[in-house]
């Protein structure tokens, strides 16, 4: 087991299975099909991301460097949270980007349903993303500690 410490963006305690994207997560390309056509697992639809393509994102601990792509990214994350199809946690190796940051903040301010909850920690470092693999168990604690085993 390894422990990493990051910055808390949206606090919470959660344990979930890791899915890992080593490239930037294109939020629109990844989520749009799932949100539009009733896929409760939020299967990643971004064919340009071989790490994640066709893998379930809802309820997982999504490990990534940052998000990239369309500036609809934040509202797509907001919609994913509102529809209960968000990852259980988003864990960024780098500081969070402006698109994901906006989506996380807006969801936290405007959505008060527990089903919309998503724990977010950023700045976990390159070593975190090098270490974590699909299927590992991840526990995130309220103080921004991330345990990977």
């Amino acid at each position: 087991m390894k422990t990493f410490k990051g910055r808390i963006v949206a606090p919470g305690n959660v344990t979930a299975e890791a899915v890992v994207s080593h490239a930037g997560l294109n939020t629109l390309a990844s989520f749009q099909g799932a949100l539009q056509f009733g896929d409760k697992k939020a299967t990643c639809g971004d064919q340009n991301n071989p790490d994640l393509y066709n893998k379930q994102m809802a309820g997982k601990a999504l490990c990534l460097p940052q998000t990239i792509g369309s500036t609809t990214g934040g509202l797509v994350l907001y919609c994913a949270c509102a529809m209960g199809r968000q990852p259980a946690a988003m864990l960024f190796s780098m500081p969070i980007d402006s698109l994901a940051g906006a989506g996380v903040v807006i969801a936290d301010v405007w959505l008060k349903d527990d089903k919309a909850k998503m724990v977010v920690v950023d700045s976990l470092g390159d070593e975190f993303l090098n270490y974590v693999k699909d299927g590992m168990s991840i526990t995130v604690k309220e103080d921004g500690t991330v345990e990977v085993k």
Partner: protein, 424 residues
């Protein structure tokens, strides 16, 4: 973050609970990025990324309705991204049903919300709002609360305005409170380049391919590009601006670039030169082989990779008036050479409603129509955002469209050949 008395009062709810939540969203967004203050939005107009009445966006429509019901709207009017459907664009019966019933059933409702929130006018639906004919063209140094990645990167880089890569929703919230957090691309430090790009190609690089290569390499960083003025010149004329529009869209969608500087051409590079390059900047050399490597790396995800194209989209982002005119001539010349009278692949050129209106006043409009090319205000990305398109071989020279959909990328010259001559 240090707020003024007025900002603090809004945050405290003295102007209502809904406006307080809008302010909280903007402040917390800024705090994530270390912003110590809010600065006034100074542009005349805003630009929003969300134009489509997709059913999946119902949570966004609900939020917008909360704003409207509370009378929390901006004093700033806005343009917005293109409409997702246009009856002039070829669709079969099944697609029409999917568009009208399954996907865009909320379009009329959302169009009504946009009007209530401050849409500039009925022609303000375009991703290229900065084109002269549209009229949302900020001045150098103006502070914006825009979203739409291709418009933000153009406003920052080509116009010298200041805007972060804001997401949808936060775009309108900054405009409503009249302030945006001061961080990132709003600051002098954040506009410094941490990459030097050296262009060493043997011919003028393809805008969308070059942008893709740079975007994938530098991600969200700021690149300072040397050697491109050799191919574009040192004047921001119509042709150079059209190139930079397409180039920037590719940097923003294939990576997350919000600002680039082109040595000797873009306003801050002309004014400040290499002093814009940060200490320790990395270098990326782009030659013919590198562009070919990037081109070859694109996955082809058509079900049948050898299928004949059924549709061609040009104009993501929307084409400029200069592009509509120059492509009219290119299509005419290529058809003449091929011995054909009309394009052999159904082809749609997309542009802003206001640009199309101006184009239709020129002699080129009838000439382009004679070639069989359709001109539309549609958003091709939204057209293709459905499962039916997975089995539909669509071609494009837009790297943004390639990134988000199953469309297959070809260079401009390859596209021209495919739509006028085919693969002969």
């Amino acid at each position: 973050m240090i707020l003024t008395k007025e900002q603090q009062a809004i945050l405290n709810g003295e102007k209502g609970e809904t406006l307080a939540k809008v302010m909280e969203s903007v402040v917390r967004y800024g705090e994530l990025f270390g912003a110590e203050k809010l600065v006034p939005v100074t542009s005349k107009y805003n630009h929003l990324v969300t134009s489509f009445g997709l059913k999946m966006m119902t949570p966004v429509f609900d939020l917008m309705q909360q704003l409207i019901d509370a009378g929390v709207v901006s004093e700033q009017k806005f343009s917005v991204d293109p409409r997702p459907v246009d009856k002039n664009v070829p669709t079969n019966l099944l697609q029409k049903i999917v568009f009208d019933v399954a996907m865009y059933s909320k379009q009329d409702f959302y169009d009504g919300q946009l009007k209530a929130l401050g849409l500039m006018d009925e022609k303000a639906y375009t991703c290229a709002c900065y084109l002269d004919q549209v009229g949302n063209k900020p001045q150098k140094g103006e502070v914006l609360s825009w979203a739409e990645s291709s418009a933000v990167v153009y406003a920052n880089s080509v116009l010298g305005a200041r805007c972060n890569r804001n997401s949808g929703i936060i775009d309108i919230m900054g405009s409503i409170v009249g302030y945006v957090p001061y961080f990132g691309l709003l600051t002098d430090e954040g506009r410094k380049a941490t990459w030097i790009i050296e262009i060493k190609t043997s011919k003028k690089p393809e805008a969308q391919l070059l942008g893709s290569a740079i975007g994938m390499k530098v991600m969200e960083d700021v690149p300072y590009i040397k050697g491109l003025d050799k191919w574009l010149g040192n004047e921001l004329n119509d042709a150079a601006c059209s190139f930079l529009k397409d180039f920037g869209a590719a940097t923003a969608s294939n990576g997350a670039v919000g600002l680039y500087h082109v040595d000797g051409l873009t306003p801050e590079a002309v004014e400040l030169g290499e002093s814009l390059i940060a200490e320790g900047a990395k270098t990326y050399v782009i030659d013919d082989a590198e562009l070919q490597r990037v081109y070859d790396s694109y996955p082809v995800i058509w079900k049948n990779k050898d299928a004949s194209p059924k549709l061609c989209f040009m104009g993501c982002p929307h084409m400029s008036l200069e592009q509509l005119k120059s492509w009219t001539v290119r299509v005419e010349d290529a058809l003449r050479e091929a011995g054909n009278k009309k394009v052999i692949v159904p082809t749609v050129f997309t542009s802003a409603p206001a640009v199309i209106e101006e184009f239709n006043k020129t002699e080129y409009a009838a000439r382009l129509k004679a070639t069989g090319v359709i001109v539309s205000y549609i958003c091709p990305l939204m057209y293709m955002n459905n499962p039916l398109c997975k089995s539909m071989p669509v071609i494009t020279s837009s790297n943004k469209l390639r990134t988000y959909t199953t469309a297959r990328y070809y260079t401009d010259e390859e596209i021209l050949k495919k739509i006028t001559k085919g693969d002969k």
